[in-house]
Symmetry: C2
Amino acid sequence: MAALSTPAELAPVLEAGGVELSRLMHRTESRLAEVAEGHGANLAGHAAGTLAAGGKRLRPLLVFLCAAQGPPTLPAAVAVELLHMATLVHDDVLDRAELRRGRPTVFSEGGREAATATGDLLFSRAFAELTATGSADAVRVLSMASEGLVRGELMQRADAWSADVTPERYLERCRLKTATLFEAACRMGALLGGEPAAAEALGRFGERIGLAFQLLDDVLDVSGPPERTGKPRGADLVDGTVTLPLIIARTRDPELAELDLRQAAIGPARAAAVCDHIATSGALGEVRAEAFHQVAEAKAALTGLELPDSRRRALNLVADGVVERHA
Amino acid sequence: MAALSTPAELAPVLEAGGVELSRLMHRTESRLAEVAEGHGANLAGHAAGTLAAGGKRLRPLLVFLCAAQGPPTLPAAVAVELLHMATLVHDDVLDRAELRRGRPTVFSEGGREAATATGDLLFSRAFAELTATGSADAVRVLSMASEGLVRGELMQRADAWSADVTPERYLERCRLKTATLFEAACRMGALLGGEPAAAEALGRFGERIGLAFQLLDDVLDVSGPPERTGKPRGADLVDGTVTLPLIIARTRDPELAELDLRQAAIGPARAAAVCDHIATSGALGEVRAEAFHQVAEAKAALTGLELPDSRRRALNLVADGVVERHA
């Protein structure tokens, strides 16, 4: 049976979900491995490496937790993770990233061509997988989310090194680039798993925890520590990605306010020092507070729903888990 | 009404298809324009430019010609063209291509980021469009074709500058990178347009004319002339793409047999001279013969089918059109 890569902070969720949830997560892992291996020598290595590199599998988990019956949602759980990976592989090409989750990226191992193709393949595979559900609604939900991801990614690049990113614009970017896929996972779970009437509320739940997830990612980029996050502090600063911690810190710290955000100005060496400044400004607490606020809104979206206690508990645990983590 | 960009050699096909076919092609063009415009300022420009740059719209045409009833196949016609464009946009990123069809590429206008994102967006849009058909079979056919395109593209890059490409391997690459999408267009037309029993035979028809199409493309790359094809002769040689004209010519011309295929060896300046050598060897006639053979097989695939005369005539005209062209 394929090993699960779910991190420790989500263990209570698996516990709350019981044997059935663990079984579904194992089946997802096996199917992801099958999909990766079914592509001939050229691609199999890259796709398999990407999938084996793990990740939290948070999106498949959400698909299952939003479904009354898990098994019909299995292809959606696999599809949402494949789409997530497709975008990571393409992002790594654009960022010329050498490492992801401590492993060489497809880009660094195979070059631009192989990585672009592997991403395209994972995209196609995501939609192929989803057709097993026979649901045009699910395909529509996933393709809309996919558009959101692309638009979010473009927005991030358009706003690189910009001193004019407002908190509102930052949040809209997070919604597009992260929250849409969390929302899609929840919606597909509800639609395919026998809870169509709850799709709207569960979609809102997903969107909110997606926002919280991204907010916390951006906090961790500043606070580290690298031993736990697996990447150097201030990677966003080096890439020119202007996040809420920096936006808030600049309103409080005159030195940061005068900081030239252009790439030349912040190399990896200076990034850690700027991170210290941001942390000292108190901005991180404010961003964490915003993340907790989003989690509270996510939980509130569930209140009107009739859900079995174990699923409600598991969903609440996921919501807490996205902000109470260190990597 | 949106203008059609169907080239002159396909005019008889539109004539054979009558008012209904022209109407469907116009609706496809309008819908493509709508899809391109619906993406916010960031993307709309790039996507619209790509779509407006035209192309033969051969794949949508095939969708309609393989259908007994055209209107239900409209989303498939739009989707197959969107997918085709997505792959072109990504190919241009990988090739760092400045021009396509005489216009600046998304890559040259917007850079790698915008072009990768625009391609991803067109991919997503293709599948979103197809869900309007409500047919999981159609989504499956398109996603399988999409995989074929990716694998063909990778195979082409893996075989770049290789002196060991056999005719069989070349044909397999053409099948993957070109014929699968022609086949998918025909299959989707049959499945959605009320001809499911004919899907197999029409799919084979599509595959064969796809092969013929690629064979002729590879002849035109050698023979030009550039005033008609819109690109310099020998672009494949410069890119390192080893095609059948070169493979055959190397078995006949000792000078070509000794040619070093590595990139450094054939710059744009030398490419035209090598093209002359290939043409003199008689290889082009042989490749044309192979293309005509594929067209004959395509037509043979139709013989067992009961088709109205006008559609059979139109399909045969498309088959002839893919080899009797100069651009």
